[in-house]
Amino acid sequence: MSELLKKTLKLLVGDDVHLSIKRPSKRAATPKAKITDRDLLREESKIGATLFGPVPRGRRREFFCLDESTWIWHEEWRDDKNIERQSTVRYEIHPNGVLKVTDGPRYQMIEGTELANFAEATRLYYEQTTAKVYRRDPRTGVKFA
C-alpha cells in the first residue's frame, strides 16, 4: 500500500482500530477533545461525497482535498459476489496540468470534459465546505459574523 494511501486512510479512519464503547461517566468531567485536521477533513468529505449525486446504497464514497495540491476520490462497494471492492483516485495539481493517478498505478493527465467536471467539483467543494464547515464567505474567505 502506498504511503499516500496509508496517509489518506489514516486521516479518514484513524489508527485506533480497536474501539471500545464506554458509557460516559456523569461524575467525571472529561476535558473537551481537541479537534484535528482529520476531524475537519471528515466533515469536508461528507459534503464532497454528495457533489456527484446520491451515493448508491451499499457504497461508501469519499471526495476531499487532502492537501494543497492533492484531491482524493475513494469509493468502496461489494460486487455481485459480495466481495469488497475499493477504488482510489488521486488528482495532483501541477503547474502544467492535473495528473490523475489510479490503481496500478496508472498516470494520466486529464483534459476536456473530465478536467471541466473535476474543476466544477472542486468549485462546489470549495464553496460548500468554506460556507458550511468553516463559516466563511467563499468569495472573500472572511469569517461570517
Binding site: 481537541k34 479537534i35 484535528t36 485536521d37 475537519l40 477533513l41 469536508e44 482535498c65 492537501d67 494543497e68 495540491s69 492533492t70 484531491w71 495539481i93 501541477h94 503547474p95 502544467n96 496540468g97 492535473v98 496500478g104 496508472r106 498516470y107 494520466q108 493527465m109 486529464i110 483534459e111 478536467l115 473535476f118 474543476a119 472542486t122 468549485r123 467543494y125 470549495y126 465546505t129 468554506t130 464547515v133 468553516y134 466563511r136 474567505g141
Partner: protein, 89 residues
C-alpha cells in the same frame, strides 16, 4: 520494435535493453517536461526513441493552478486556522 505508452513508461523502461528502439505513443496529454525527461532517460540507456507524439498539445490545457489549485490551497489554510481557532477556545 518495442512500443510503450504513458501508462507504462515508469516500469517499462526497466524492461528494455540497450539497443532497443521504443516508439512512444499517446503522449499528447503528458507535460512536455516529462516527455523530455523520459526521452533523456531512454537515451542515457542507449535506447532509441523513434517518435514523440505531439508533446506541445498539453499547452492548450488551462492553467490548473488558476483553475483549481488556489481552492485546495485556501481549503488547507482554512483547515489549519480552524484547528487553531477551535482548540484555542
Amino acid at each position: 520494435m518495442a512500443t510503450s505508452n504513458y501508462n507504462h513508461i515508469p516500469t517499462y523502461i526497466d524492461e528494455l535493453n540497450s539497443g532497443d528502439i521504443i516508439h512512444l505513443q499517446g503522449t499528447s496529454d503528458l507535460p512536455p517536461k516529462w516527455i523530455a525527461e523520459a526521452a533523456q532517460e531512454l537515451k542515457n540507456a542507449s535506447i532509441g526513441v523513434e517518435q514523440v507524439f505531439k508533446p506541445e498539445a498539453n499547452l492548450e490545457v488551462p492553467n490548473p493552478e488558476e483553475l483549481i489549485g488556489w481552492r485546495s490551497v485556501a481549503t488547507t489554510s482554512f483547515r489549519k486556522e480552524e484547528v487553531d481557532l477551535r482548540n484555542a477556545v
